[in-house]
């Protein structure tokens, strides 16, 4: 129990962010029309590609002899980029079609 309280206390800032983001996330897409479900899912998919930041950090601090970190980190950056770039491009392609209507 003490460990949990300590953990929350040490990360209280992050805990606040988590809680506020949960409400915000629910609030801002609450009234999305079903037409936009697919593009919204795809856009959200691209946004969680932000995980690539972690991959870049891991890759960037890997020492030259640490092949596990180098290879896995390299793979992580490639996959993260795929998620980000692919996600945004595919979402844009979907939405481009909506735009064509007059």
């Amino acid at each position: 129990m003490q460990a949990v309280i300590n953990f929350l206390h040490e990360n209280i800032e992050a805990v606040y962010i988590v809680i506020l983001m949960i409400f915000l996330g629910i609030e801002i897409i609450g009234r999305v029309p079903s037409v936009l479900h697919t593009p919204l899912m795809s856009g959200a998919n691209a946004i969680h590609g932000v995980v690539i930041i972690g991959a870049i950090i891991v890759m960037g601090k890997a020492e030259s002899g640490n092949y596990i970190a180098l290879i896995l980190g390299f793979l992580a950056v490639v996959l993260g980029t795929l998620n980000v770039v692919g996600g945004f491009v595919v979402t844009d392609r979907m939405l481009e079609m909506f735009k064509k209507k007059k």
Binding site: F7, M21, H37, I57, M59, K61, A69, V78, D92, M97
Partner: protein, 475 residues
């Protein structure tokens, strides 16, 4: 310098929130996507050039840049080349890559901890690693792995490479696997630092296994819901990385997607009038067979010739087109728009009835028809469409099946019972275009096809529409 980086992350977080908000409104959606993408670029460039780890800048630039270039090329090509019909499975694929990325980060971080500590005298892992740090690592590993494995299976299912697979006691099996994941996650923390890597990698393997068996039994028609759920999983996995590096952009982005994704999943379920639990546990299967058996002796259906169909449609006042997955597979959206134009020239009113889950993903049909320049105000949502069927002369169903199955309304034993449907039988005539009499994705018969006012027009949607066009022009 790190001050500027903090601002970069702040800007990125705000663009994510703004982007997601704008994505949920048709008028601003595209701009929202670009804004979020811009924020992402700022966050990525900021990290590469400004991030400092204990006062040291990041190294390995050649590795980082070549990885980003490779990812960009493959990602762009995949996203640009994909056919509109294959969009859902591509989203699933990208989602899996994000999950794998989150898992890999955590695995590498675990490896660091393991290497740092294994030379010390024998002690417990829990004595040298703070619980919060371990939690962020293990949660990122588990959720990322499940999301990766699940997304790959969903991807395979949507493109038909992987078939539905169920066995007796599957739910119990899944539960046991999940319990084992948790067990080994805790066991890792309690083991000796010298051997902690063994239970850790068992945890990874079990999490992957769980991801596979979590998605395998779920019917293909429910894949969009599953992808949306896995999408929010990956968001949470990314947020774990945010905890790990105390990175606010990862934290806000990840949790935002986690929360919005969960709500979106529930909204999708609601559109099908099913609960999430029902989707995840009640896989289509056993009940479907009994329904087919009960309705087996349904008598014959009647076919209609192309010229008759053309005649009926050309001389009607109002035609309602109900598109489904068959239209998407046949890439018939342009032919469909042509038909609409020709009919309108003849003074026929043409509208489209869009079921929220027609196709393989909510909004799938809207995207497809928008691609073919079909005007937005011709697309009726389900409730409006159901009103208008009463005054409709001809309903043309193009490769849709389960979304017009009356069993959802009047057969409590049917697996789709309770799902709101397009009530096409209210119209005077129904013409159904299908490739064959085979049941739809839910695997159940459709009594609509056997009703007296229904006639069947077999063939590939695109081919049939083109022939129909030619016939109507001759009328």
């Amino acid at each position: 310098m790190s001050g500027i980086l903090s601002i970069c992350y702040l800007v990125a977080s705000v663009t994510f929130i703004l982007g997601l908000k704008m994505l949920s409104n048709p008028a601003t959606a595209r701009k929202g996507n670009l804004i979020a993408a811009g924020g992402m670029i700022i966050a990525i460039l900021g990290t590469i050039f400004l991030y400092e780890n204990d006062g040291k800048k990041l190294g390995n630039y050649p590795w980082i840049f070549s990885a980003i270039i490779i990812g960009t090329i493959i990602g762009t090509l995949a996203a640009k080349k994909v056919k509109m019909t294959a969009m859902p499975e591509l989203v699933s694929f990208f989602n899996g890559m994000g999950g794998a990325c989150a898992a890999l980060i955590s695995i590498i971080e675990f490896d660091y901890l393991f290497r740092e500590n294994k030379m010390f005298d024998s002690t417990f892992f829990s004595h040298v690693v703070p619980v919060g740090h371990y939690l962020a690592i293990i949660a990122g590993t588990i959720i990322g792995s499940i999301s990766f494995a699940g997304s790959v299976i969903a991807w395979g299912k949507l493109n038909g490479k992987i078939k539905d697979f169920t066995f007796k006691g599957q739910h119990l099996f899944n539960l046991v696997v999940f319990a084992l994941v948790i067990f080994f996650a805790i066991y890792t923390y309690q083991s000796d630092v010298k051997v902690a890597n063994i239970p850790f990698f068992i945890t990874v393997a079990l999490a992957l296994l769980y991801g596979v068996f979590f998605v395998l039994p779920i019917g293909g028609a429910d894949m969009p819901v599953v992808i949306s759920l896995l999408n929010s999983f990956t968001g949470v996995a990314a947020a774990c990385g945010g905890f790990l590096y105390n990175n606010k952009a990862m934290l806000t982005g990840g949790i935002l997607v986690g929360a919005a994704g969960t709500l979106l999943t529930i909204l999708m379920c609601r559109a099908m009038n099913r609960s999430l639990k029902n989707v995840l546990i009640g896989s289509f299967g056993g009940t479907a067979k009994s329904a087919v058996g009960a309705k087996g002796a349904q008598g014959g259906y009647k076919e209609i010739s192309l010229s008759d169909a053309a005649m009926v449609m050309a001389y009607s006042k109002k035609v309602m087109i109900v598109p489904g997955y068959g239209l998407a597979v046949a890439q018939a959206q342009h032919a469909c728009h042509e038909l609409e134009k020709v009919l309108e020239e003849k003074g026929v009113e043409v509208k489209y009835a869009i079921h929220p889950v027609a196709g393989r993903m909510p909004g799938h049909m809207n995207v497809l028809l928008a691609e073919a320049d079909v005007s937005y105000d011709k697309l009726l949502e389900m409730e409006d469409a159901n009103e208008e069927f009463k005054t409709t002369d001809v309903v043309l169903i193009l490769g849709a099946n389960d979304v017009v199955n009356p069993a959802a309304k009047n057969d409590p034993s049917s697996p789709i019972y309770g799902m709101p449907i397009l009530e096409v039988e209210l119209a005077k005539t129904v013409i159904v275009n299908k490739r064959s009499m085979k049941p739809g994705y839910a695997g159940i018969e459709n009594e609509l096809f056997f009703q007296p006012k229904t006639s069947m027009l077999f063939g590939d949607a695109k081919k049939v529409l083109q022939d129909l066009l030619a016939e109507i022009k001759n009328v």
